[in-house]
Symmetry: C2
Subunit: 243 residues, 2 copies
């Protein structure tokens, strides 16, 4: 029998105009930082924004945004706390940040549980911080969430971009729309990633130079908004808002 | 009924002196590069070495080592090809590098299949390139492979080290020995990671400065051996050999 919770996911999310899944082929490219900063930037522009950390492999948006005590409340479902102007949910509220990892079936179960019980209300944007690659959680999100669009983050590295190719191929096969590609932590002048992105038939959205100030801004949303990353995300927001 | 293949895994691996699982809390810290370079360095010192890429989330050792045509052969099991002085196996030989990802149960199945059928023969060291974090594949490897020891790779980033703490906690709970921690892509003089490592009761093995030459060496094992990473891995090998 189909899980009855699945049918209510889109009912729960019906007042969300746009769901953007921030994804990457591999870890360590700055995906969570981009997701967090994009959400902050959209909120700063006056949008109603939710941020949902689904990266069960290494959830980190709470650390990036400096979220310590804020917890969701229960009221005929789970009501996300308001943090730095965002409605915030994380898979860590489910796993309670235990060292013990969720196994495959548990990940799917946690995802369905959180998607079907979280009360987002009216949002212009829900930003999902996805696990890297195309694992179970990503496949599930694609299956369960209507109108999901992907934003792919990469670095300038060949290895990172090889994994983007795979991700892009699979998303094309699944007919999932891709907003485009962001090149993060760029340390040279090469436009190789831009060219390769266009070869894949994808839009090259933004390049973000490597910024040594970011590390010190981790955990401080006000400092984050002063980094080069935030500046470029602000630029990207204007593009997204004009789509 | 227990999977009969599991009981033959350790029979298959009985002539391997030491199994080192190169792991990380999160992706993108250079784990696969460290695993590949460590394997090359040990082989250069005259050891019989195998390298087994189990990182189904983004297998990349074949790209790092420039492995194109070499394939395993079947002879009462799977015989890994000899590449750059290493016996080499990868989960990509199982998944055939398809875009379509393996789901949780398939990952376990692929892992058991490869561990139970690969004929390594006599080895001093088998280096496993693990998926980042503690997912199903890592838990399975810990359960199935006797005498596995972990080498943990991190960068200098707070976010990366937070995930190391989780990994270390879980490995301690599972009573899996940890050789120590390697700090990769270090761009400053801080010894914070070294101190934090020691607080976890783990050995700080090596620090590797960020090396902009590495990107150009990807795919060329001879160039890789001339990088700063190889120099530090060579140093680490001497420590490992003297244990």
């Amino acid at each position: 029998m189909a899980d009855p919770r699945i049918s209510i996911i889109n009912e729960r999310m019906k007042e969300i105009d746009s769901v953007i899944a921030v994804s990457s082929g591999k870890g360590g490219v700055g995906k969570s930082l981009i997701a967090s900063t994009l959400a902050l930037s959209l909120a700063k522009k006056g949008c109603a924004v939710g941020l949902f950390d689904l990266d069960f492999t290494s959830p980190s948006t709470h650390a990036i945004l400096g979220i310590v005590d804020e917890r969701p409340k229960e009221n005929k479902g789970i009501v996300p706390p308001m943090v730095h102007g965002l409605k915030y949910m994380s898979i860590t509220y489910y796993s309670h940040d235990l060292a013990t990892p969720l196994r495959g079936a548990d990940v799917s179960n946690a995802l369905v549980e959180l998607l079907s019980t979280t009360i987002w209300g009216k949002l212009n944007y829900l930003i999902l911080d996805m696990p890297p690659g195309m694992g179970d959680a990503t496949l599930d999100a694609v299956r369960f969430v209507n109108n999901i669009e992907f934003l792919i983050v990469t670095t300038s590295s060949k290895l990172a971009f090889e994994t983007v190719k795979k991700l892009a191929t699979l998303l094309r096969e699944l007919r999932v729309p891709v907003l485009g590609v962001v090149e993060n932590m760029k340390m040279n002048d090469s436009n190789a990633i831009q060219q390769e992105t266009q070869k894949l038939g994808l839009k090259f959205l933004e390049e973000i130079p490597y910024d040594s100030e970011v590390e010190a801004a981790i955990g401080h949303s006000d400092k984050l908004l002063q980094t080069v990353v935030a500046d470029r995300m602000n630029h990207l927001c204007s593009k997204i808002l004009s789509i």
